[in-house]
Symmetry: C3
Subunit: 344 residues, 3 copies
């Protein structure tokens, strides 16, 4: 009878475990209290913000073992706005949710690598993030905010209608390729905002070293903005007591207007603290090679770990941008806040 009970227990358990493995519900809430100041107008306001460290989100994901090393994978990840900002901040109405706006993919993974179909990050974005991501730099607190991508260089970090391939690791070396169809291409209506996005990356990650290079091409049928090419070179080295990272990124459009963008970061873990300092700068150049605009940003902050899943944090970011000829500032923003991040 004992054996029977045990067998029952284990069988039922296996059933429960199998049922659970189909889908895992997960997410993150990152909320803070802080202050935003526009230093051009001197206007400042106190705010409850979501996503200063990393975007708040809710997700569903899973893996199915198909045998022979092959697995089916899926993920649906959706942005959360737990602070509900905007013009309707105190009414019931707020931003409408689109399930899967961050990630909505199905794919296969095995010895050949991973193939994904749907909406997800481009292969370029992975390399860009390698340099600008740390405990403080992934979202609103990044020193690249309003510094990168303020010229002609607003790149697609994620794309819909995408096919993406990630190679297996060959002694630490991987390559990735993503292609997003422009499904408006047959339509001559210039108000349709179709863009074709092709990206390629190569990455070398062994021990403490993480190096990557990537390129992305965005083609559109809209007048005046036919093609932008992006190049990124990123690297990080973890010395244990500190992690250094640096990145270079260039955006170039069809008229040869360029944005050159640089970032550097330091990450210092101290017991339950993790202190981050980051600096970013950018120069926009016209077709003749003359600098037309400059931007720079600085950020510093720290997280304090309450558990693997929960941290308190505080941070400060100051970014500005000016006309390189007249010196007149076009943007000058300051942000500081303290908050909590919880993963589930």
């Amino acid at each position: 009878m004992k054996k029977h009970l045990i067998a029952l227990g284990v069988t039922a358990l296996a059933g429960a475990a199998a049922a659970q493995s189909n889908v895992s519900v997960y997410g993150r809430l990152d909320l803070s209290v802080g202050s935003e100041k526009n230093q051009l107008t001197n206007a400042s306001k106190s705010v409850v913000s979501s996503g200063l460290l990393t975007t708040s989100r809710l997700g569903f994901r899973g893996t199915e073992d198909l045998g022979g090393g092959l697995k089916a994978i899926f993920q649906i990840e959706t942005t959360l706005d737990p602070d509900a900002p905007g013009t309707n901040s105190q009414s019931g109405a707020a931003r409408a949710t689109t399930l899967g706006d961050r990630t909505a993919i199905v794919g296969l993974t095995g010895g050949f690598g991973t193939v994904k179909l749907g909406r997800t990050d481009t292969s370029f974005d992975d390399i860009r993030d390698l340099a600008v991501s740390s405990s403080l730099w992934d979202s609103e607190f990044t020193p690249t905010k309003n510094v990168y991508g303020t010229g002609r260089s607003d790149y697609s970090s994620r794309a819909s209608n995408q096919v993406r391939y990630e190679s297996p690791s060959f002694a630490g070396f991987t390559v990735g390729l993503s292609y997003a169809f422009d499904e408006e291409a047959v339509n001559a209506d210039p108000t349709k905002n179709g863009v074709k996005v092709t990206a390629l990356n190569a990455r070398y990650k062994v021990g403490a070293l993480d190096l990557g290079v990537a390129t992305q091409k965005q083609e559109t049928y809209l007048n005046g903005n036919p093609e932008i090419k992006y190049t990124a070179l990123s690297g990080a080295y973890n010395f244990g007591v500190t992690r250094l990272s640096a990145g270079y990124q260039q955006a170039k459009d069809a008229t040869n207007t360029k944005d050159n963008e640089y970032s550097i970061g330091v990450n210092v873990p101290l017991d339950k603290f993790n202190i981050s300092v980051g600096y970013a700068s950018s120069k926009a150049k016209n077709a003749a090679g003359a600098t037309t605009a400059k931007g720079s940003g600085f950020a510093v902050g720290a997280t304090y770990s309450l558990s693997k899943r929960t941290s308190l944090y505080a941070g400060w970011r100051d970014t500005s941008r000016k006309n390189a000829v007249t010196g007149v500032k076009s943007a000058d923003e300051r942000l500081y806040a303290a908050g909590i991040r919880h993963d589930f």
Copy 2:
């Protein structure tokens, strides 16, 4: 071998339990068939309604033990419209969902009390609900519907961009404080609908007694409606064979226009039945103290419990409002319905 199996079973089980404890998916579906009648125009219609007892919803929540009595908590709760009402009632299109429109918070709870950040009920709303909530009075069936809040007194039951504190219980006594930032405050554009909401409550709950008092201030930068103050006093006593509840609420704006609102309720559990009767009345007064409008509402109904999670219900509500000088009715509505409520 037996021991091994048992150990395996228990270990795997612990793993499964741990995985589950991160997030719990829950919700409620409350659907009914009934009739709505506008007694001013004599227009009536048969309807399938959602949320007559309580709003239909889908939620995700969890608690993480951080040690030392400290816990991280989160909750994301979203309104469901399973009947899909409105102008597109038979087409695929319907109201867009905003994940977390009811509640979207992360916080910490411990010996010091509970702190929450995000979108949730105000501290005032808790006390107001103490009087008007019972098995029939929480949503569309409440006798306060169209009676409360029809003058200048439309209060924010929940607010975005909020910091909220709830004290621990001192021998049954608790206090609560909520503050919602007006994130439009720096913006002089009067079309921006920013509101600052500050609320405070005190509650005494021991045995059968539940008493509360609360105040809420809503400040806005819109012309003509600069500030409204709310006061609520609510109480309930559970005699076992019956629960009595009563509430008083006042709304007062900057021009000294007042709404005085009263409600009383009786709740009688009879085996699997729970019978509710409620009455609410309101008087709007101008700055000179003269009554300008009167409203009153009556509701009666019962739930029948099929299980802890599932009930059948039926209810009837009649509410009206009139000009106190001319006696002309401005609203006169009747609603009756029978439905099912299921929690998951």
Copy 3:
């Protein structure tokens, strides 16, 4: 001690199982790469599509045993657009999600049958699907696409504000009835798009045979389209080595304009493959009985099963429609694609 451990294991397990049984998270992702061609304009485009076999979705459902054979049931099922099509195909914005747009019901099931309240398929839709559903015919790959429902016959496959009854099976024989309230009925505003939908079906399903007949009436208060009646007769027989299905459907409006629609399908399972071929045709007739338009469609495809939950597929569909008098084509579309479908 062993017994104790076992008891603990089984008890905890029962707890876990009970918690799980409240709600089950499930879904489907169906994504493909293919080509759409409008053969009238010769415009073609390559696309990543969602839902060529069956719509991508995310759902929450559960069953509660109420004792005595009675159960409470609920289901909330929402469309996913993992490819995020449309005008904003590469930006963050995309179609807003409505939770429960596919199904949002609560109900009771027992010896008397099943009663559901909310938004779900009509009783008519079940029978229509019996003929046109197979591994290839349920969604965009169906040969009925642009062939059925292109005259006056656009029927409601699902309806909001619905009460639906499904009988138990009497030796394979079942009946079903659904009624959707027109909640705009009291409102004379012709811009309100209210429709009352009444449907009835009868089905006989024994062994390899599946036969059904259904009718649906759609009443609206909009001018010029007061009532449409639908009739469907569907059947399928599974010979084991092949499954044959056929269906007839008629739509008739108040002016006696008719659409007569036919489909036939063959399904051949071959080891892990399942090959489907389908053909559909339609004729629109005016009140005098003369044929005004003709349409036809052909589809062929196959699925390859990687597991019970995951399949690869490829398919091809060609549909066209023409004026029966002039012979001028009004639509001529071709679609082919290969993809993956994963259930979770």
